[in-house]
Amino acid sequence: MVGVLAVVGLQQCATPEERLPILGQREVVGTDTLYHTIAPFSFVDQDSAIITNSTFQDQIYVADFFFTSCRTICPIMKREMLRVYEATAEMPDVKILSHTIDPEFDTVALLHDFAERLGVTSNRWHFVTGAKDSIYKIAQTSYFATAMEDKSEPDGFIHSGAFLLIDKRQRIRGKYDGTKPEEVNRLIVDIKRLRRENEQ
């Protein structure tokens, strides 16, 4: 009996499609709800272009934090992000934003070389660098992703392997472990869901 109820319950949930949650703190002002959004930022990408919030106007994007000399989780994250890049090849409104957390080493030239070697272009995947404090601050306070220097770590940094899904209004709609293929599969599904939501 319980089983039957569970099945019925599942079927009811399946349609219509649930909207993705909006993550972060929210504030109700009068009749409006203010959601957590990504704070203003300005970084430089692998082609020396200035990348700001307005770069992603009317765009969905996936953000992460990494550094090129990292041997621990970053190579796996990049392999997985490459899957996202390939899966979204036909989606002109979907972009990727990878922030280096080691801007002293990861110069624009180095990021350019890295992106080229990965076989990706800056019109869809921005690798950005900037002031270290700004990168760490936006990681912590806007994306809720850990990023900091830690000399006791094997590569000198501690950071999360999270991929963050950001909607066209700069709100976080999903957080995924970028080192786990099944989580990244879920991200790819969620990107499609988010696009359908925008069509409505």
Binding site: T68, S69, R71, T72, I73, C74, P75, I76, K78, R79, L82, D113, F114, E116, R117, L118, G119
Partner: protein, 144 residues
Amino acid sequence: MTVLLVVVIFTIAAGCVPGSDSGSGRSVKFQQYFVEGQSLYEQHCSNCHQSDGGGLGRVYPPLNQADYLEQNFPYLACLIKQGKKGEIWVNGVMYNQEMKGIPTLTNLEVAEILTYITNAWGNSGELVEVSEVDNLLLTCTEPK
């Protein structure tokens, strides 16, 4: 009893193909090195070189079917322990990402990793003996 038998057969069958590449009819010692090498590879190497040895783009070079492995075998033990900076050509492609060495690996572990990477993924090498690694580590000159 039947269930137990099935489990036993399954376990034996699974044990015979540790990486599907190790080759049947190889010595027990080879199997041990291969399996240990695979586990060490997953721990220390596969993040960059990937579990299938395929590498990643032109960032991390492949190890499967890589001419560099065949041509520079005597240098590989040094490469694993000491790392490498600068350009490296693999299968006609230039890579230039620093690989940090892992000096803490024992010579036995290096032998196991070498046994694994030179025999996995269709690579056709042989068991790499610890004594061989001992010798190879005496002179580490980068190939030109």
